[in-house]
Subunit: 274 residues, 3 copies
């Protein structure tokens, strides 16, 4: 793993919310072990226990951080049970998270990787509760990594870690049927249809001639930017994460169409995809 | 521009919310370019696309930061269209924002200023999307500024940048009529009547003898602090930003009076303002 | 007081919310006085003016921060009135807050302490408003402390500071009756029954044989971790702060039982507590 220059960075992704002091407590533990580390909040508003939402957020985010960043993810419905804490090394990043599938999209994306079970209790807080491993296990492990401890010191490599699978689009007549997998603050409906995965039947011309069907609404063609449709109108776009997204210009597609996660989205081309 | 000592500071003001990882992604981009810069969140809860709200927040905030601070504002309904990215230099501060009027109150406040269109694509991320210039243009530009790049390197000065105007109070019989322009977390109703702009008819005595009329409620005199009226009662005050504000002590004026942005507020003196 | 190595840390606990720029303004003031200090948000979502909630959050949090940390708490319904600003020194920590009882649980917990009234106006901002002492008094005082100013310079020790008392559990037939004092993001109902204060009648066996009664629901035994009860079922646990808590595994006890702060909680043992 390449180490970045400057202070090490730890990112935090949790479902702890920002009302309670849970995140602040984790930061105190980190700073007590590794003074001067840079702690960056990704989000603490993952819907409680929603592992796939957290997996998507981590996938969309980690690559924008410098080499050597430590990504700490605590969405942990199984806290206190036998579920294992994991440390995952990839070429440029480190991930610390529970073994519940929350890193599934990292496993799929990154080429080289090594997944370790964290077993070295000497890196944990002295007393480990059964309800808050974010504080007692995950935060201290991330902090010790930021101090430069060797990943190998934390535990042995394993292969039987848990994978979750995102729903994938299916091929239908003249196109693909996917579904909404994420709704952002603006009410944009992000589907699981990835631009990068469209087959050879898809050309630059297809953007113009395709149709997107969602909840009874038919959208002609895919836009380049939101302002191409009039304010209040519905459009489709490949968003900043590379996924097909339904939007309302300066409005909320979620509210306008009364749709959310799970809603079917069809991308259709007269000649279909080859 | 005077440079502060210590690490450079970048403040962030957006309408991105805190649920999605958009802000975290911007921070990753910044730290990848300028390790060690101090990033301070002002707010990410500007109401979606509300340029005037953002303009007020920026005005109320920037002066409390040290010389050399870079203020990054991303409220950007026109993302992907022809609207230009701007870099504004003033005597003590730098501002990076879209050219949509979100900096209007800065233009009005600061004496010396130079407004540049950001044209130097070498400072952008390699791939620029049409949906997330916060990540691809604004964050990297702010980070390069924090590394010490000369503002002149980013693009030429322009004069035809966009101004928005806040509603201003109007003179009426015996006083002024303004309106509520901001409601804070406590439900305080902030009007556009600025203490600093009251005319010569206003004296220290006037605080005691004036009346404030809002939504049918008449408030006698202006208080010095919230606790001067009994808990649950309505009062008026010049708030910490210097504006006339309607409050309920230990309660919410917004809820109590069922009023919000746009509600008329009258400040009346028997002899009027000269 | 032992000073930590590395940059000094200031934690922030307020009821200012995250929508308005109040917290950002305080951070600007702090960084203008003490460049490079580490500022950590604990929460800004204390319910408006709820002193006991803030007191609980401070108590649950401060000990996880390194020696020398400065804890700044601004929940301040009496801003502008005669209520005094305080600086509290304990063996390892410093606290800056209004004298309204928000530090009551610190007074009770920490052995050695010295409580000072902050009187030295030279540490305040030049103009002190009557509505935002967080900006004008508390933030600058914390920043000057972070720069290494001697606590004695800020004002004289006092003894007549304000105490608030948390409701305490009472003894009943065969057990204790307490009440819910905090509800977290997950809907967990935290009572005021502290594990550390259970009397000698409580043994490791008692966990298994006790009953917890809350709002008509009877829970048999106390669990070690959430996953011990099936998803959607109600259980009881001693939480990460050491208090008896009612939870629903992967759900919300608050919603499921329609209970909140103030709800009675009984912990019963057939032989009672000695």
């Amino acid at each position: 793993m390449v180490k970045g220059r400057g202070p090490r960075i730890i990112t935090l992704t949790t479902d702890f919310g920002t009302k309670d002091p849970f995140v602040g407590i984790m930061k105190g533990v980190i700073l007590g072990i590794c003074s001067g580390v840079e702690i960056i909040d990704i989000t603490h508003q993952i819907e409680c226990y929603q592992l796939l939402e957290a997996a998507l957020v981590v996938k969309a985010t980690y690559r924008y951080f410098p080499s050597g960043t430590i990504h700490l993810i605590v969405v942990d419905p199984g806290v206190g049970s036998e579920r294992r804490p994991l440390l995952v090394e990839t070429e440029h990043h480190l991930f610390v998270a529970p073994d519940n599938g929350v890193l599934s999209l990292i496993y799929r994306e990154e080429g080289w990787k090594r997944v370790r079970e964290i077993t070295a209790r000497s890196y944990f807080l002295q007393e480990v509760s059964d309800t808050f491993h974010g504080r007692d296990i995950f935060a201290p492990v991330a902090a010790w990594l930021a101090r430069g401890e060797n990943p190998a010191s934390f535990g042995p490599p394993i292969n039987d870690y848990i994978h979750l699978s995102l729903p994938l689009p299916v091929r239908i007549d003249h196109g693909l049927r996917g579904e909404v997998i994420y709704v952002d603050r603006f009410g944009n409906l992000m589907s699981n249809i990835e631009q990068g995965l469209l087959s050879s039947g898809w050309s630059p011309h297809s953007r113009k001639y395709c149709r997107v069907v969602v909840g009874g609404t038919v959208i002609e063609g895919i836009n380049d930017y939101y302002g191409q449709v009039p304010p209040g109108e519905v459009g489709a776009i490949f968003n900043s994460w590379g996924y097909l997204e339904i939007f309302v210009n300066q409005g909320s597609a979620q509210q306008r169409l009364s749709l959310g996660t799970g809603a079917k989205v069809e991308l259709l081309l007269d000649q279909g995809f080859s």
